[in-house]
Symmetry: C2
Subunit: 151 residues, 2 copies
């Protein structure tokens, strides 16, 4: 195709955008979250809620604020999240023994079962998405690179 016809065809030149890590990060994340939401629609949780569950599972007894900070969220956003997960019997608030202002968050037995099911689903989803990459070493490299860019 001649350059003169460039404006008239229906292909798009992403130009600068294609070289911008910030933009490519966004597109990759959009794709992950869209398919993630499909995979999880029957379980009734979003990617954000799964993150809360995963952190409580690995860190039982932490306060809402501690979990929020670890996820980079505001503590006010945790209220509705914990309310929902408590209604689903996945996690529970227990009064902190050392500080009567705060609650400690724990998994329920139902929550442990749910987490087992959900994390298997997450890892299957991960495997499917990263199957386009060369090998496990490349996935590990990507994870390390993304961690480096997150600080």
């Amino acid at each position: 195709m001649s350059p003169e016809n460039k404006d008239a065809d229906n292909t798009i030149d992403y130009g600068l955008l294609d070289k911008v890590v910030g933009y490519r990060l966004r597109r990759a994340q959009m794709n992950f979250f869209a398919t993630f939401s499909d995979v999880f629609s029957d379980l009734g949780i979003s990617p954000g809620l799964f993150a809360v569950i995963a952190l409580v599972e690995s860190n039982p007894g932490r306060t809402q604020t501690a979990i929020a900070q670890a996820l980079g969220n505001d503590r006010s956003a945790m209220v509705a999240a914990v309310d929902k997960l408590e209604n689903m019997k996945i996690i529970e608030r227990r009064p902190s023994k050392s500080d009567r202002r705060s609650y400690a968050l724990y998994m329920t037995q139902t929550g442990n079962d749910f987490f087992k099911t959900a994390s298997k689903r997450v890892m299957d989803h991960e495997k499917e998405m990263t199957s386009r990459l060369k090998d496990e070493k490349e996935v590990a490299w990507l994870l390390e690179t993304l961690r480096t860019l997150s600080d």
Copy 2:
């Protein structure tokens, strides 16, 4: 530290989450967008608006719907975006010659100047963020990997 004290300290174990590409993508993107927004606060545009400008610059004459589709957005969301960029005299709507239902989008001269300034700012931001990586080859590899994960 002994494992028994794990619950009591203030470090967080990210557990499974640290191995999940979807989560690490989100954290990296949050970091990029937060600093991007700082860098761009004086120019009055968001990352999303910059993407629209960049695409119009590389593809003058496209319709709103074509730009929206290329960005993965709904066309209804383009109305406010184009309204704003037109008010800022950055891009302009011109009646399409071949289809009276649609507008073709073009850069203004002001828009070209703006884009030059803005894209320099974006690339500086990119350079600062990716300076933590080993070299340019690693950045290129990351971009290619992210593209692979976006389809």
